[in-house]
Symmetry: C2
Subunit: 347 residues, 2 copies
DNA sequence: CTGAAAGCGCTAACAG
DNA sequence: CTGTTAGCGCTTTCAG
């Protein structure tokens, strides 16, 4: 691997000049520029990114924290993040926390600021204190899927109005005529899907409909499957299932299939997110779509801004504007009606 | 961010000593070691990975090239890769080629050897010449899913006997009594699934069964869907579909659903790979499982070995053992019978 | 057992 | 416009 120095020698200039032509910095004469470019091509020179990172004091990578990339939502998101990151020359390092805050911390400790100049956090079971620590150490962090635009998390974030998503789902079911609706909340009671469920309840309330049964479940197909069976077991008159995420909704459809209930004939099912699988299931899942690609784009660009300004204010003492934690809000979720919802069966 | 130097000062020693205790190198006195450790803890020191990379001449990351992380097989594989990589302190950078060889080359050019010390390649539409180039430049490359153990690709790889997988699938269908089987090959005629289809044909041949119809398709659910409809259109007497991958197999099931054909009652469907979705579809997909996690582990450890030896032989002139390109073979694929296959309908 | 010194490959002022 | 001079933070001989 040829170095900058060798290229410089080959071109009969100094390393600084080569560096300059390569990054269009200091103005360089056209003839030397050509000479340098030729040398670069001749030697097949490629800049050593680690060296550059050290010299610049910043690494060209972003860390993407996910609980498990195997959860089908994350790959879609990761793809969008990577695309956005590439536009600013960033590479993305994927950090699976495997739902373990300690693993998450280990990642943050190791790469934040030393190999990555910014951190993107999805709903990855992380300790907020750890995130604040890495922020305090100078590495910007942004939360990618904050659920409650009206209750900022105290960390830069891009928020999606998930309460609205829940409400839209509820309204859709209500409009179809459903009154006995089971709800599957894909997390513990205190969990991250509270806003979605709240929206659903709001819709019910506004329509004067009864509140219905709720079941908390793992945010997986299996979780939705189990929850649905429990729900239907407890109340066979349920005509629709609202799940706070697509995966459990898919599980609900499976449960229906196993119980011999047709969807949507005998049971309607709706989810939230609109992952690819939602389109591809049979029947195709009605859901409330979250603008995934947009969120990824917003998150990356917010992170970039934070990174830039973090270098900018390096000299400033005690920035008191730390109170204004930035938050971007994505465009609102939208109902996508597909084949898993319909009018309720007659009693 | 405290530096090694500051820690050294704090502990009243030199940076070299701190470095030594941190990596258990030069023997260090127990008392100074303690002192250093305290200083490290007190200052919250974390090594600067980019600086270390430069000094060591090697980066702590591996590049994982995939065509699109959104294809459901890759996340599962990526997760396994990351787990394996962590055991040697490596981070993984995910590189989506988006099926574009140029994008792949751009990635290789930029990070191979400068930010990543090794490259893992899945079936990511890459130019082999580019891979050889990066290898020649000194960055080891390993192919992760080579399909034909008996025709080494000329690059280090871990191979899976996909011909066998196709054969097992064929045998299963045959054993059930199917004779009119449609095949969906998830790639162009010249493509990467040739071995799988060959195995299937071998099984047919061995049983003296007719060869049946074939349709090439995109390696997606949609591709399988379209292909299935075409197949059934051309020959309604088909009783089973063999797909060279799970995604198209899933698509076949959807097509069946839309045509009002019950699976497996009126149409059996089998795939290859056993992605998570196969377990989670309804009916659950019968498939031939590839040992994904094992393959990831083999690939990472092979890559590690290549990396180590590449540093080792740095001085040696013209290593003539370049002829022995290493290949690891995974344990054989295994048939997983689930609910999508059964005896053929009576004529 | 520990310190001093050189350098990894590149960038960033500042001179000339 | 181009060259000089310092490092970035860490590792690694080699002396002491």
């Amino acid at each position: 691997m040829p170095t900058l120095n060798e290229v410089a020698r080959h071109a009969g200039v100094t390393p600084a000049t080569v560096s300059n032509v390569l990054r269009n910095r200091g103005r360089v004469g056209e003839t030397t520029r050509q000479r340098v470019l030729e040398a670069v091509a001749a030697l097949g020179y490629r800049p050593h990114l680690a060296a550059r990172a050290l010299a610049e004091g910043r690494a060209p990578t972003l860390a993407l924290m996910v609980s498990s990339i195997a959860n089908p939502f994350y790959p879609e998101f990761a793809l969008a993040v990577e695309r956005a990151a590439r536009t600013s020359g960033h590479f993305v390092i994927i950090c699976n926390t495997n739902e373990d805050p300690l693993t998450g911390r280990a990642y943050l400790d190791q790469i934040a600021g030393t190999l990555s100049e910014g951190v993107l956090v999805t709903n990855a079971n992380l300790d907020f204190a750890d995130l604040h620590t890495t922020e305090a150490r100078g590495t910007p962090v942004v939360l990618c899927m904050w659920e409650r635009p009206h209750e900022p998390p105290g960390l830069p974030c891009v928020a999606v109005d998930f309460r609205l998503a829940g409400e839209l789902a509820g309204q859709h079911l209500l409009a179809l005529g459903h009154r006995r609706i089971g709800a599957i909340v894909g997390s513990k009671a205190t969990g991250v899907h509270a806003a979605r469920y709240q929206g659903f309840v709001d819709a019910l309330h506004a329509a004067g409909a009864p509140k219905g049964r709720v079941k908390h479940a793992l945010d997986t197909i299996q979780g939705g499957y189990t929850a649905t069976r429990a729900l239907l077991d407890a109340d066979p008159t349920i005509t629709a299932i609202f799940a706070t995420n697509d995966l459990p909704a898919l599980g609900a459809m499976h449960a229906a299939a196993d119980l011999g209930l047709s969807v949507p004939g005998e049971l309607s099912v709706i989810g939230i997110t609109d992952i690819q699988l939602a389109r591809e299931s049979r029947p195709a899942l009605t859901t409330v779509a979250v603008p995934t690609v947009e969120v990824a784009g917003l998150a990356v660009s917010l992170l970039r801004e934070l990174i830039e300004s973090s270098y900018g204010q390096a000299g400033k003492a005690a920035a008191p504007d730390a109170v204004t934690v930035p938050m971007r809000i994505s465009s609102p979720p939208e109902l996508v009606v597909r084949a898993s919802t319909g009018v309720p069966r007659s009693p």
